[in-house]
């Protein structure tokens, strides 16, 4: 038997490790040699998590080589794209359609575009990927606990792997905490019956970039002894100038929220939108 390669991926806190532990337990129950490798450490802090599971008669490397995975099981959309290149031609990309926007993807205060990939299942299919989208999180939530999305997705792809229902059930009983075994068995079976999700691409929002000007009337500003506008500006546009009065030091960063204007007790700050004339 050729060694099988599976990646379980997601975001810290989603239960990647539990899902890969269940898979590994199923392998062990079958008498396979199995290696399961992951990098922990930053997982707790919302980073990307990957767990490699390899099984067969004799497994050497703990790592899966790019282009050789049979299955990538992703608990989140952007993570599916991150690891897809590990798939061999014809490998299956199973993904829960949940989207977790990281803070780092929401930093563009000019165009307000989140740097997060659109859910474009059809386009990927046309490019030759075998994508299997599921509403696993929604299904788990309907079962009463959204955190079981990992087990629902495992159920959904369980037919792709060689293990019997009994082996999956035994693996779940061994791995998940005793008090939630029954709930997880239900989640697994719900996943096994879960149909592929139909996806319609959402609208892309693209507001035009706007430009603002912040003006401080120096003679009205109390300067450092107040400093409200300097501290409150979310974009750090304002700073104290050489005369210790507030001034728009980084005017390009202004998003026009007007907090400075609203909170200045001396009406010294005005925010205007620059409108192109003609």
């Amino acid at each position: 038997m050729q060694t099988r390669n599976v990646l379980v991926v997601g975001v810290g806190g989603q239960g990647v490790l539990l899902a890969s532990n269940v898979l590994a337990a199923a392998c062990l129950a079958r008498g396979y040699d199995v290696k399961k490798s992951e990098v922990k450490g930053m997982a707790q802090r919302g980073g990307a998590v990957v767990s490699f599971v390899r099984y067969g008669e004799r497994v050497h490397s703990p790592l899966v080589e790019r282009g050789r995975a049979d299955l990538v099981l992703s608990l989140e959309w952007a993570e599916a794209l991150r690891w897809a290149a590990y798939l061999r031609p014809g490998g299956v990309l199973a993904v829960d359609l949940v989207r977790i926007l990281p803070p780092a993807a929401q930093l563009d205060h000019r165009t307000w575009q989140a740097s997060y990939p659109a859910v474009e299942v059809e386009r990927l299919r046309q490019a030759g990927w075998d994508v299997r989208p599921y509403e696993a999180s929604r299904c788990a939530a309907e079962l009463g606990d959204g955190r079981m999305a990992n087990v629902v997705l495992l159920g959904a792809v369980s037919r792709e792997l060689e293990f019997t229902v009994e082996e999956w059930e035994q693996a779940l009983r061994e791995v998940v905490p005793e008090q939630v075994v029954e709930a997880n068995l239900r989640a697994f079976h719900a996943g096994r019956e879960l149909p592929l999700a139909s996806v319609s691409p959402g609208d892309v929002r693209r507001p035009a970039a706007r430009t603002f000007r912040v003006e401080v009337t120096a003679s009205w500003c109390k300067g450092r002894s107040c400093g409200i506008c300097v501290r409150v500006c979310p974009e750090e546009v304002l700073a104290f100038g050489p005369d210790d009065r507030a001034t728009a030091a980084s005017p390009d960063r202004c998003t026009g929220c007007q907090l400075c204007q609203l909170l200045c007790p001396d009406f010294a700050v005005v925010v205007r939108e620059e409108v192109a004339v003609g």
């Binding site: 810290g12 806190g13 532990n21 590994a24 199995v34 290696k35 399961k36 490798s37 992951e38 990098v39 922990k40 450490g41 930053m42 707790q44 802090r45 919302g46 980073g47 990307a48 050497h60 490397s61 790592l63 080589e65 790019r66 282009g67 050789r68 952007a78 993570e79 794209l81 991150r82 897809a84 290149a85 798939l87 061999r88 990281p102 803070p103 780092a104 929401q106 930093l107 205060h109 307000w112 989140a114 990939p117 990927l124 959204g146 955190r147 061994e174 791995v175 609208d203 929002r205 035009a208 706007r210 300097v230 501290r231 409150v232 979310p234 974009e235 998003t255 026009g256 929220c257 907090l259």
Partner: protein
């Protein structure tokens, strides 16, 4: 992962770290010490789940090694674990313990992190074995991690030396099948007075040093024993000398090659390697990081090829080993294997929702402080959107660096050191004494979140509990600072943004060493803190983005906008209810979710 059924069959799926712990347990280890550090942490944690072993987290790696050394001198088997950089801290002891030798077996575990998955450097600690003249064992999977640990204790006693067991992230954190056995405790060897062996005065040390040198050739013979050395003759056109995880990569990528696999990679079984070299046409060394084996083999006159094809930086992967053998002309060029990467969102690690480290950094950023940081979760305060850290080197460096920067007198703002509670006790104490002694104008912020969070939440001397969760004496951080002579010591709740801001502002103005201790528990460990979450009232949100400046991952943009800017919403399942965003919101748009909502 020892599960109910598997315990009966005596087979378990253990990580390398768990297997080391299991091996030490079965070898009858009596005392196990360590300081947390990825990827080594789970060894001590796993041992703490087993009976009959004294297990402790020490306040730093040097203390851990001293404690283990004392236990060994007392005639029992002792284990001491740390991450690679931990051995730098413990090296002062390590470089003398090799002279004194041991009484009960002493095994030092160094878990290295090639590729820096969660470390500040990727030093290769195999060099320490050579530096100290101690035997070096390198397991290549979980089963070997267990067996080698057991063997290490006997070796240590047989040769009267500490043994260095070195793993890497992939060995420590890979689960594999392991055969379990029973615990067998060797008879205690009672303590014996022997100053010439244990008191390293120059006169005695001069007598001990030759023993270090003498035992190396004898150890090299041990390295050739079948429990360590494996010669696998296959195709004679390519021979590879390798060890550890690299062995598994070579087997995967070049299954037909002949392989000499080392279990003990210092000192080397040179005769065996020469014999192997004579049987193959080309001789390669595949090893991660430094050309450690390569240089020793070349010095022995063997025509080896290694770093010319396999990179010296980073972790080796099957891809990189394949590319190396392709460059060497052994394998065909991999070509464009697989498909291109798909574009996706960046996802660097972030502070958790409700992390008590958030507010101090927000305040420091707004106060224009120049911040010397330290190592822990809070190092993430250097990244967007907090951007409130200017330096971070090694554990405990923050306070000394801040002192130096203040003395230089060139900083464009107030000089502040930020250090976690565990890090403060690890290496911050001497630096704070020094700052007081120098009358440095620095502010030291101690982020007391009641745990060693970065490594998964281990107790330390200021948490009031021990490694098994039992109550323990608790060091009072504020009292310690005062006793050291710090006159300005303020304790503040970092969930009170205003109070945090004011405390820091006053501390910065104080002309001398000031200490501000923030005291909220980490929301992840030792207990998960999950208060009633907050929600955003969309009609009130003016999309000013002030709450987004906290970097809380629970707050996300919605499709709704206000004057072109995206309004926000809060992921209720992720929100811990810390109140910070509600405190900064100028529109009072962030409110408690209210009755009717239940956390699943």
């Amino acid at each position: 992962m020892e599960t109910r059924t598997q315990e009966r069959t005596r087979i378990a799926l253990l990580t390398g770290n768990e297997a080391i712990a299991r091996g030490a347990y079965e070898a009858g280890v009596a005392v196990a010490t360590g300081y947390p550090g990825t990827p080594s942490t789970e060894i001590v944690e796993y041992l703490a789940t087993l009976p009959d072993v004294y297990v402790e987290w020490s306040s730093n790696e040097k203390v851990a090694l001293d404690v283990a050394m004392g236990a060994s001198m007392g005639g029992v088997r002792a284990l001491c674990t740390m991450k690679h950089v931990g051995l730098n801290v413990a090296s002062d002891t390590f470089m003398v313990a090799n002279y004194t030798g041991v009484r009960g077996g002493l095994v030092v575990v160094s878990a290295d992190d090639p590729g820096m998955h969660s470390s500040q450097n990727e030093q290769d600690n195999r060099l320490y074995a050579k530096f100290a003249g101690v035997p070096l064992l390198e397991p290549s999977d979980s089963q070997e991690a267990k067996t080698f640990t057991e063997l290490a204790f006997s070796l240590s006693e047989e040769f009267d030396t500490p043994v260095l067991l070195r793993t890497t992230t992939r060995i420590s954190h890979t689960r594999g099948v392991v055969q379990l056995g029973d615990r067998q405790v060797p008879p205690r060897r009672p303590f014996q007075r022997d100053p010439a062996k244990y008191v390293m005065l120059p006169a005695y040390a001069r007598q001990r040093r030759p023993r270090v040198l003498e035992r190396l050739p004898r150890l090299a013979e041990v390295a050739a024993r079948p429990e360590f050395l494996r010669v696998e003759m296959r195709d004679p056109s390519v021979g590879v000398v390798t060890a550890g995880v690299c062995y598994t990569l070579v087997r995967e990528v070049l299954p037909e090659a002949s392989v000499l696999k080392l279990g003990m990679s210092y000192p080397l079984p040179l005769d065996a390697i020469r014999g192997f070299a004579a049987q193959v046409r080309r001789l390669f060394v595949v090893e991660e990081l430094e050309p450690f084996l390569e240089e020793m083999l070349r010095a022995a006159g063997l025509p080896v090829e290694g770093k010319a094809y396999f990179p010296q930086q980073g972790e080796l992967t099957p891809e990189r080993v394949r590319e190396g053998f392709a460059r060497a002309g052994v394998l065909p060029e991999p070509g464009d294997a697989g498909r291109a990467n798909l574009a996706t969102a960046p996802r660097p690690p972030v502070l958790c929702p409700g992390c008590p480290h958030t507010a101090p950094f927000l305040a420091l950023q707004r106060l224009g402080a120049v911040v010397c940081g330290d190592i822990g979760c809070y190092t993430l305060g250097a990244l967007e959107p907090l951007r409130a850290m200017d330096a971070c080197l090694a554990m405990g460096s923050s306070i000394g660096m801040a002192t130096g920067l203040a003395l230089a007198g060139t900083a464009p703002g107030p000089v502040v050191a930020v250090i976690g509670d565990s890090t403060f006790l690890h290496a911050g104490l001497p630096a704070l004494v020094d700052a007081v002694y120098k009358r440095a104008h620095v502010t030291v912020v101690i982020l007391d979140n009641g745990t060693t969070a970065m490594t998964g939440g281990q107790p330390h001397p200021a948490t009031g509990s021990g490694v098994r969760g039992e109550p323990a004496p608790r060091v009072d951080l504020a009292a310690v600072c005062r006793a050291m002579g710090v006159e300005f010591v303020r304790v503040v709740d970092p969930y009170d943004l205003g109070a945090t801001f004011v405390a820091l502002e006053e501390a910065i103005r104080y002309p001398g060493v000031s200490v501000v201790i923030t005291n909220r528990p980490c929301v992840e460990a030792p207990v998960k803190v999950r208060d009633e979450p907050f929600r955003v009232v969309p009609e009130r949100c003016t999309a000013c983005q002030l709450c987004m400046d906290l970097g809380c991952p629970a707050i996300v943009w919605t499709d709704e906008t206000y004057e072109g800017r995206p309004k926000v919403t809060i992921r209720l399942d992720a929100c811990t209810g810390c109140t910070l965003c509600a405190q900064v919101c100028p529109a009072d748009a962030i409110v408690r979710v209210g009755p009717g909502w239940r956390r699943s």
